[in-house]
Amino acid sequence: MTPILEVRNLKKVFSINSGRTGKKSTAPKTVTAVDGISFTVNEGEIFGLLGPNGAGKTTTIGILTTRIIPTEGNGFVAGIDVAREPIRAKRLIAIVPQKMNLDHSLKVRENLTFHAAYFGLPKKVREERADELLEWLQLKDRANDRIDRLSGGMTQRIMIARALMHDPKILFLDEATVGLDPQSRLMIWEKIKDLNQKGLSIILTTHHMEEADKLCHRVAVMDHGKIIALDTPENLKKMIPGGEVIEMHLASSDGSLLATMEAIPEVQRVEPLDGMVRLYVAPGSKLLTRLVSIVEDHQCELLDVRVSHPTLENVFIFLTGKGLRE
């Protein structure tokens, strides 16, 4: 497969103004948002960057869409270095940003036609494509509306339509479904799949594990500016020891309870958490009744039990020891 995007050793260090303290500034504070990451995305792939807020996903997208200059390393879009030749790169990419940035001075349809005009498309093509996309995203009756009259799901769809107007080779979606109701989210997922089936390469960032799981061919798990794992969702989930997760919510627990649980051969790992114990166990080991009686033997009160197959969230917790949304 040909790579449509290549990221080599990308690093971004931001210097932060420490604000007005009244004193002369000491050494400037810096934050390393992206810390030497490398990956490639193949043509026709949906590639996900999964991680909590502040993991460096948006900065990575910012660099690849020419809006942030990397401190070190390179990003190549179809072989073009985005920092060296931003204008050529911009023709090949499109972005649906995290924050709504539609042009309020223009109507819905004009947001699309002007975007295409900025890319030098002839009037006839602009008009036709705008109509097609509005139809496809079920926005035709909103074509002449003002932007501030639209719901969150609609603005998101318009931003997708706008991004597609200049026929990009890669579409970046930065947290494209954050804050949307489940219905709008499902619709956007469908549209993303549709676009990919037509051959568009897509890179999306998300902290929604189901989104990454359902849509992405491969997922890079990011934390603190680094990629800590990169594989297909299936392979990532295989990283979880055992293959089954049992979460027991307890009113109280003690060391001997945990030790007894750990002693069971099928239990591969015990994670004591606040008010809860998470056990990674071999699949089909039918341990539940045994675990419940152990809890009773230790005179601990059991509040809730959940048995699940690993999700990408479990993978993230397994790798970092913390949840995606804290």
Binding site: F14, T65, R67, I68, I87, K90, Y118, G120
Partner: protein, 256 residues
């Protein structure tokens, strides 16, 4: 530069400006109308100012109006776009050098400034007590100055718009706009400041001085004014400075 992109950006701004034409007219004309009425009509009838004052006032008020029209056309949308709505991002991602997006703002601001000048001059004829005699024979000079004034105004707007945060807009009016108006030789000719030598030198940092004096040299040349070559030097230096600082500031705000 990508000309197609540049023209599309201009077409977008022209469409938005035309949709907003009523508000533009009100914003541009109300203040000069009142200024001309009070200083050039009411106070004239009270004999608080003498007849020759009108020839000082008209170029001054015209310059002031052009400065604000050019500045506002750039500053206000830019402050909102950069600080709050991020609407400009879509244009920043269009296939053109980022600096040209700011250059386009300067071009559009210049157009706003020139249009406002064209609206104020006939207004002056109407509002002033006994009319005013304007010299329109030096039309080449007048056009050249109008373009230069427009460019300086909008590049100043770019500079302010690129550096100021939305929450500081109120402060901008007190700290930048008010001193520019009152120390801009709007209501008095620069030559007459010989009585206050420190002020005569200090006001030279104010671009409005060269605009007002320039228009005096062009349309009311009988009024004593700064030598034309100094006016052109003042406007050119302002233009280079504000364009340079403004473009750098704009780039810093849109590219991290």
């Amino acid at each position: 530069m990508n000309l197609k992109t540049f023209l599309a950006l201009m077409r977008r701004d022209t469409l938005v400006a035309l949709r907003d034409i009523t508000s533009f007219m009100v914003r541009t004309l109300v203040q000069p109308m009142f200024l001309l009425f009070i200083f050039g009509n009411v106070m004239m009838r009270m004999s608080l100012v003498t007849g020759g004052f009108k020839e000082i006032l008209v170029p001054g008020v015209t310059a002031l109006t052009m400065l604000f029209a050019g500045m506002q056309a750039v500053t206000l949308p830019l402050v909102l776009d950069l600080g709050y709505t991020k609407e400009i991002e879509d244009r920043v991602l269009s296939p053109i050098g980022v600096h040209f997006i700011a250059v386009e703002k300067i071009v559009m601001g210049t157009a706003h400034s020139i249009v406002s000048g064209l609206l104020v001059l006939p207004l002056a004829k109407v509002m002033l007590h006994g009319g005013v005699s304007l010299n329109l024979h030096q039309w080449e000079l007048t056009i050249a100055l109008a373009i230069l004034i427009g460019l300086v105004s909008s590049s100043l707007g770019l500079t302010i718009g690129s550096y100021i945060k939305p929450e500081k807009v109120g402060l901008m009016f007190s700290l930048i706009v008010a001193p520019i108006i009152f120390f801009g030789c709007t209501y008095y000719p620069w030559e007459a400041l010989y009585r206050i030598p420190w002020m005569k030198r200090l006001v030279l940092i104010n671009p409005l001085v060269y605009m007002a004096e320039g228009l005096r040299a062009a349309i009311t040349p009988a009024v004593p004014h700064m030598p034309l070559h100094w006016i052109l030097v003042g406007l050119t230096v302002s233009l280079i400075l504000f364009t340079w600082v403004g473009l750098a500031g704009f780039y810093r705000r849109v590219i991290d």
